[in-house]
């Protein structure tokens, strides 16, 4: 395969897995982050505009830190959807260029794509656009380490707990 993606998951399975994954991240829940699309080394996440992420109280512009969380989580989901099973890869590094301040009251959409998945490291690119006019707000390059930790058990436990409570 050209992109060296090894996934055995269908797009539906990837989307489901990414939603389970993001669903257990307390900070993402706090910010209201959602997975809009995922599959085959790609993920799209949404960060809704809220007071909680504002960095400049004078202008209402969101803080870069909330974009770091959006980019890190989106790139992590792209990695998740590129690899077989439910493999957890910690972030090695994340470099973000802030192209323009995001306009207040616009949701932010992040598209993340795996460029290459090698045996040890997965390389990802992420782009954040603002909803409405689709202007590019930030772009990031990230790399993730494959440490051989699998989340299959955690995912199964979460599903079981949810089924039991419903």
């Amino acid at each position: 395969m050209g992109n060296n993606k090894e996934t055995d998951k269908t797009a539906e399975e990837s989307l489901w897995a990414c939603r389970q994954f993001v669903g257990v991240l307390a900070h993402c829940n706090k910010l209201g982050m959602t997975v809009e699309a995922a599959g085959d080394g790609y993920a799209q996440l949404k960060l809704p505009y809220s007071e909680a992420i504002v960095g400049n109280p004078d202008t209402g512009v969101v803080h870069g830190g909330s974009l770091t969380t959006l980019l890190d989580t989106s790139c992590g989901c792209a990695v998740f959807s590129a690899l077989p099973g439910y493999e957890l890869c910690p972030t090695l590094d994340l470099r973000t260029d802030y192209m323009r301040a995001a306009q207040p009251h616009h949701d932010l959409i992040c598209d993340a794509r795996v460029i290459r998945a090698s045996d040890n490291v997965v390389f990802v690119e992420g782009r954040v656009i603002q909803s409405g006019d689709g202007e590019l707000v930030a772009k990031a390059t990230a790399s993730f380490m494959r440490i051989g930790v699998h989340l299959d058990k955690l995912i199964a436990q979460t599903v079981k707990a949810r089924e039991a409570s419903s």
Binding site: L25, A26, D58, T68, D72, L94
Partner: protein
């Protein structure tokens, strides 16, 4: 609180040396719960334990994005306090290296202002938990800083 602009806030904060007030004026800073301490002329940034900052629930570990946000905020606050710009510094780029998982415990950060040009500032940030010499992450950022008139 948002009715007072940053320049005015900064003037008041300087007067009383109450840097926490400056951090608390920023909604995102309140969201993650950053604290500012001054030790002599140096600034130490503290991120107390907060269940809402957790990412990986298994370890449990602080979300990597929160660690990055904490470090970026620390750099911006350091610039605000040390350079007295006319407005909030704007981050241009942020390069973050994760060295080890940030456990669910208090986290600290310090900043080094390597260069302050007429428009761009270069800041290095180190974050640690148990020992300063054992950082959990290091970062480098460029900010656009509008000097005070």
């Amino acid at each position: 609180m948002s009715n007072i602009n940053i320049a005015e806030q900064l003037r008041l904060v300087k007067q009383h040396r109450d840097y926490q007030q400056l951090a608390d004026a920023i909604p995102y800073a309140r969201t993650i719960g950053i604290k500012v301490q001054s030790i002599g002329d140096e600034l130490l940034f503290v991120l107390p334990r907060n269940p809402d900052n957790i990412g990986n629930p298994m370890l449990p570990a602080i979300h990597g994005g929160v660690i990055g946000g904490f470090m970026e905020l620390a750099a911006a606050l350091q610039l605000l306090i040390k350079t007295e710009p006319a407005s909030m510094p704007k981050v241009v780029d942020f390069s973050l290296d994760y060295l080890r998982a940030g456990r669910d415990r208090e986290t600290y950060a310090e900043c080094q202002l390597w260069r302050q040009g007429s428009r761009i500032a270069n800041v290095a940030i180190t974050a640690w938990q148990t020992e300063r010499s054992n950082p959990i992450a290091t970062a480098r950022a460029h900010f656009l800083v509008k000097p005070a008139e």
